[in-house]
Symmetry: C2
Subunit: 404 residues, 2 copies
């Protein structure tokens, strides 16, 4: 935590570290009393007071009296003040580039979505058009009637349905956007003010951040998140930290081969996971005539809930294959929790027994372990909110440096 | 690094942190000059001097003049002193329980093996017998002529070919020892002096620690180590830290299913990785008549090197399957380096092209990434030396506390 590049600790970094830690608690959990902060940080009351004063002066937190129903009040006597994210303070621009729709949102410290807008991805699909849209939004921020008062932009985060080197922000391949080797991070940096960092990430990698901070993976240090949309990817948290891999492209499990005799895959192999799991596989099994779309997938789930046998059977079949994939991941990573998100979030409602049976078959049985299997709590917003988390990362890591 | 249980930093912990960091550098790299330590730690010369003095007084390091060929001397003028592990200081007892042989070794700070002894595992296979043997060794330590002078025992580390909860030291299952649910950590704690911590780990998890500290994975933060012995397991380093999983049983990939139409596995499924990869699979392919043994596997490699077509073909076939398994791991974890250890360490000499072709086929091709594939440098000693690393962990994490 407190470390120079060499890992050695120096006294002058302690205060900055503790400010970062306090701000992270307030960002994660919203309003907290000074007593709660004192307990969580294990510091003296006077140190906590001084840290709160610093964060207040930096415009990051505010002393507020919570409204009824919020924490901080004892119900008797005068209400206790709490330390909360400053609503006129920092916000970020989060962008989720989906295959059909791209969503832009202004998200405040603490995770509230102040404003959001959705556009058809087809209209802004070129990387340059995405960068233009982000730059436009940044110019307009604070001026178009959104509820961010006198707030200031602390960062931009972008979720891409493809492989991303999170360090450079370079997109390797995003097949459904037809993007190849796009230096999105550098393109953004050219257009954004120097004080506004831009983070680019893979959708599953960002979605697991959001589910970990505010959703179904909260409180668990070892998580695998399955993002099923057109394709299949995984976001991984290990020992409380995102597992990115050496080149930032961990979790690209869509082409792990489940069956050498399986259907041909567009990648040239046979029986890749994506030939069995994903929107296209589900629609084909269900006999849906139309092209792959979110609405088409939703209609198959609706039919299954209405008792349609073919739709139900299609979902159960996909659930079985997903159980195999999750089993391999459980054997490899030993997560505490497995979260299913994306377009197949509803799969646990419709076909949990089939998924659990396949998972039990696929995991190394003698271990007797059962991963805690949950549906994503943030639904389609997981990648968007994860992009916001990534955009806040610089500020949260060093509030003093980010404001300097 | 410097952190209370809550993660907040306090000034009084900085010195202990920096002592731990310095001792870790000396343990990892052996003799280092004060100038090197100053540079690595990013601290002032006077702080480094004071830290060296503390570690010297704790009996952990010593000021020595390196002999010719070692670092520290400039070759002109009087030789520079270096800070080295204190040879009369701490050592650990490392134990590698293999299927055929169990090896005991006394390993000094810095990784030198002072003494070692091998026994047939069959003679000490019961957990109680292992604990007795460890307790005997501890009683005798310092007294049987080994070269550890007036050293003191800093810990015990035990490698088990099975699933282990590294926190409690409980062995879940070690099929080839016929151990089920053995509280080895607790059994050891009952017999060892309170000041001697015992660490128990899975062989692959420990082997990757050793290869990372001193072998083929040195310098890489993202590593997958494949341990092929009778069975198949993986040890994983992610972002520089061991990936253990929630219950300490990550890397149990032997029963990931490669082919639903594959050979029946003793676990009840078909086509598990262990039906294609491992000593038994290799011997069956090679038509070797005898039971599974290290010598039998070695003989197949010898035959292949002598040009025997059937032996060569068997190794190439296993290499192809191993490429599939490694490909799935590369897709999932995106390691920088993949190390093959255990009985199939020689596989890269004999069948690297087949392994690389299968790996290229199995990895998500458009990423264009190539994992750096290496044979283990520590051979059969990897798990033993990893057990020593685990045994030193308490001392390295807090030298002051461990000596108190």
């Amino acid at each position: 935590m407190v470390a120079t590049s060499s890992g050695a600790a120096r006294p002058d970094e302690i205060r900055r570290h503790n400010l970062a830690l306090m701000l992270t608690h307030v960002h994660r959990d919203g309003a907290l009393s000074r007593a709660e902060l004192t307990q969580r940080l294990g510091l003296s009351r006077s140190t906590v007071k001084s840290l709160v004063d610093d964060l207040t002066q930096l415009g990051l937190v505010a002393d507020v009296v919570p409204s009824a129903g919020q924490g901080g009040s004892t119900g008797v006597g005068r209400p206790s003040h709490v330390v909360a994210p400053h609503r006129g303070g920092p916000f970020v621009l989060a962008v989720d580039i989906g295959v059909e729709e791209t969503t832009f949102a202004a998200v405040g410290l603490g995770g509230d979505v102040y404003a959001r807008q959705t556009r058809a991805t087809a209209r802004i699909q070129e990387p340059g058009a995405v960068v233009d849209a982000v730059a436009d939004w940044v110019v307009r921020s604070g001026g178009d009637g959104c509820d961010w008062g006198d707030g200031w932009l602390a960062g931009v985060g972008i979720s891409v349905p493809g492989t991303v080197d999170a360090t450079s922000g370079r997109v390797g391949i995003a097949p459904n956007l037809d993007w190849h080797d796009v230096p999105l991070g550098a393109l953004l940096a050219d257009r954004l003010p120097a004080a506004v960092p831009a983070a680019v990430g893979n959708d599953a990698d960002l979605a697991v951040l959001a589910e970990h901070a505010r959703g179904s993976a909260r409180g668990s240090a070892d998580v695998v998140y399955l993002m099923v949309r057109v394709g299949l990817g995984a976001g991984i948290i290990a020992a409380g930290l995102p597992l990115r891999g050496h080149s930032g492209s961990s979790g690209e499990i869509g082409h792990n081969q489940l069956d050498p005799a399986g259907p041909p895959c567009h990648c040239g192999k046979r029986g890749c996971a994506e030939t069995f799991i994903g929107d296209g596989a589900l629609l084909a099994l269900a006999g849906h005539p139309g092209p792959v779309s979110d609405a088409a997938v939703a209609s198959v789930f609706d039919q299954a809930r209405d008792g349609d046998e073919r739709a139900l059977s299609a979902i159960r079949t996909v659930a079985g294959h997903l159980g195999h994939v999750i089993g391999d991941l459980v054997n490899t990573l030993d997560p505490e929790r497995v979260v299913v998100g994306g377009s197949l979030t509803g799969l646990l409602d419709v076909a949990r027994p089939e998924l659990e049976a396949a998972l039990a078959n696929a995991t190394f049985a003698v271990l007797g372990r059962r991963a805690d299997l949950r549906a994503g709590a943030l639904g389609d917003d997981a990648a968007l909110l994860g992009a916001a988390e990534a955009a806040f990362a610089s500020l949260l890591a060093d509030p003093v440096g980010a404001r300097a």
